[in-house]
């Protein structure tokens, strides 16, 4: 019985190069901070939920997602999972954290097991679409679209329930030095 060809990201060769360059660039970013605006459309709610805040990415510690408007809430996103500032963990969130970290940084190497990846564009104007490979992920996420230049600028998450989240990121600081 012969092994089939090894599965991997569904991309063409040129797209592989773009993906690799994005991953390298992500690896160079030690610390990134900025602000975000978020718009969430929830099925059943006629108006979108808008929020804003700041984020701080550290390669070693992950992302601190600080929502300042309309409420004050801090979410820690790390390889260990998602955790709110009151210490309450989000159950079953390690894969969500992995996804968010990959999405924020553009390093999608860890996500190839869970998503098929479609990449297009150029190094400073790229677009990536993630579609779930497994039924388990598909139960939560339908599709994730990312666009960006030097850093991720826009993220659109379409959940399986039909809820959508659109996040715009503005990087204020791009510092390679250790905090």
């Amino acid at each position: 019985m012969l092994l089939l060809a090894i599965a991997g990201p569904v991309t063409a060769a040129a797209d592989d190069d773009l993906l690799a360059e994005l991953a390298n660039r992500a690896g160079e970013n030690e610390n990134v901070a900025g602000s975000f605006t978020q718009q969430k459309n929830i099925q059943g709610l006629p108006l979108a939920l808008e929020s804003a805040g700041s984020f701080n990415y550290s390669k070693r510690e992950g992302v601190i997602w600080h929502t300042t408007s309309p409420l004050d809430s801090v979410l820690n996103i790390s390889a260990a999972g998602l955790r709110y500032d009151n210490g309450e963990p989000v159950q079953g969130s390690s894969i969500l954290a992995e996804m968010l970290l990959g999405v924020f940084t553009g390093d999608l190497s860890q996500l190839t097991q869970y998503f098929t990846i479609e990449v297009s564009g150029k190094p400073l104007a790229w677009r990536i679409v993630l579609a779930p490979q497994s039924a388990t992920v598909a139960e939560q996420v339908k599709q994730i679209t990312m666009t960006g230049a030097h850093f991720t600028q826009r993220i659109t998450i379409i959940e399986a329930s039909g809820d959508t989240t659109e996040i715009s990121l503005q990087v204020q600081q791009d510092n390679d030095a250790e905090p």
Partner: protein, 770 residues
Amino acid sequence: MTRSSRAFLIGWIVLLLLCLLYSGKRVVQDKAIASNILGLIPQSHDGALQSLAQDELLAASERSFVLLVASATAEKGLAAAQALENALHDANLIPADDSAALPRQLANLYHPYRQQLLTTQQRHYLNHTDVQTIADAALAKLYSPVRSYSPYPFTDDPFNLAGGWQTALFGGADRFLPSAVPSVLDGEQHWYVLNGELYASPFDQAVQRSLTTLLREFTAPDVRILRSGLVFHAAEGADLAQSEISTVGAGSLLGIVLLVVLVFRSAWALWSILIVLGSSTLFAVTSCLLVFDNLHMVTLAFGSTLLGLAVDYCFHFFSKWRASGNALQARKLISKGVLLSLVSSAIAYLLQLMSPFPGLQQFAVFITAGLLMACFTVLIVLPLVLGNRVLAGPRLTGLFSSVVLPLYQRVATLRWPVICVLLTALLLAVAAVARQGASDDIRLLNTSGDTLLAEERAVSELTVRVGSQRFFIIQGDTKQEMLQATEQLSDSLWPQHKDDPGQADTSNSLFSIARFIPSLEQQRQDHLLVQEKIYGPGRALEILCQSLPDLCKQNAPAAADFLTTLVPERMPAQLQRALKLNAVLGDGFSLALPLADSLDPVVATQVAGTIDAVDYVDNVANITQLLAQLRVQVSALLIGFIACLTGASLWLFKRDGWLLITSLLLTVVYSLALSAAGGLTLFHVMALLLVMGLTVDTSIFYIKLGFNQDTWLAAALSCGTSLLAFGLLSFSQVAVLEQFGSVVFSGLIFAWLLTPLIFCLFQPRFQYAR
């Protein structure tokens, strides 16, 4: 040959032909050779309920297996796992995987009851958190970039109680990664998990071969596969038994042929032996198939030793045939001895019928039937066929008269020193046996190799496997009583969960129907709590609505009435099967299985004792206890048998009877002392019954026919062929066979050496018998 003799012979041939036809049909067509190693283990249950529970558990789990696949990188591992999964489907070994539909099916089932189902953590959170904090937390999650698993729209379940409840249903779910093939992390290594369910029985050898061949072909240098499941143990057990049969059977046969050719140098002798061995084996197989409807492979492995036993009669016959020059005369000379030997051996083997081990019961019938036919063939058929033919060839008088007899005569002159040595050795042997103690752990009898056992352990540690050897039985007049008793059991086993639910994890929870459908009483309490904290006036939902006015203006979630329809009877059968709940829900009882099999049996027993409706079953401990009881019983039987034999020997053989008993006792104690290192087991004791049969055989022939070159040669040849068979068995990887083989091997040597010594020491006439 007279007409009656000819008719007799024809009748014997017809009988054997019928045996051949019947056995051939049963084995080839009906596949009557069993390889289910579990068939060797006795039922240990104290009652019908435990037996029923065990059967249901086994039926639900026996076809399941798990494969963990890994490679150098996660990508390669995933590709290998997907390829293996496709190969298993293509080979028709497993049905299509429909587990992807399970989350939606569960969501549909639980939707009406989403306000009355809480996990321990959720219950604790609601009990200890004020409504403002609950509302604030829900709002914060709403504004989070992603939410955890939410089976229902936000407007249906704004606090996502259902997401928490349904995620917690599968113990250890958080350790599984949702890759295209689910995986678990072991450090940096990704292991991809394939859950398989065979179409056919794991004991079907065609299925075993198909699966093991596929996995063997799939294994590559950079692909690792870990296996877990009964089918692999069954396959290994069957391979082992086949290997043992081949080794012991072929080894015995080869040894017999070589000895016959070497000593008797006669084609007639060789053909005679082959006829005896063939007819006795065929009759033994047929008898087992008639009595038990099947024949276990381990019985065949054991039964290979029949060759060494049946040939004993042949050797005695040949010795006297050569000495007397006439086959009919030889029959007259040996018939009493052979018949006495047959009776004593049959009694010794048929005592195995008293054991609860189906394998040993089969062995008893196999050997007894085989010896019966061997005796018949030697005493009736061979003389008819051989008639007045003479067994010519050089007689090996040299060895006995020049070496053996003088040696025994010389030793006999040192009577008292030899007696002192024998007595000292006897005392040391008794002390050794006493110091070794007993060992009755059923796990010592595991036939699976170390590699498979290590893989089984690794799979258990990486995934969540529910064991089937230790569990709770919950009885009740109604399903609700059983559910409440199960909840009480869980609370009693882990009382710390109420105050610190964060401690709850895979290793301290139960797999039971109550996990999926709590009692109505629990649902009622949870419903009240949810109304009190979330849906009641001024509660968390109203507070949330202040921040989300649109939520409460349109499609506002409302408090739901308590529903009494979430009961085990209403769970769809298909869903029960998919969740394996059909194994834990019986008629008038239900089962609760500790997840990860890490519950201390002592604690489990204590807790079960405090709840009337709950019993704890520990099959490992039960069978171990049963083995210990049987060991004591068989030991008592052994002693009784020796006592009866003493009486019978003294009555039949007068003073010579003491020689028989002395040889027997010394042989039994010495062989036990040498073989039972690591502790005396039931199988060592049962093997002693065979040793006794063999020793009595030897003694009877010396008493009846005298200690001379013919009798000694026959005994030596018998011992030699049996030594080969049991010696090979003592190297078996199957613990039962190894224990049997080692006791009988050493017993044979002692019987062969000591019996003439005892006879020469205490009865001078044996020193000069010719």
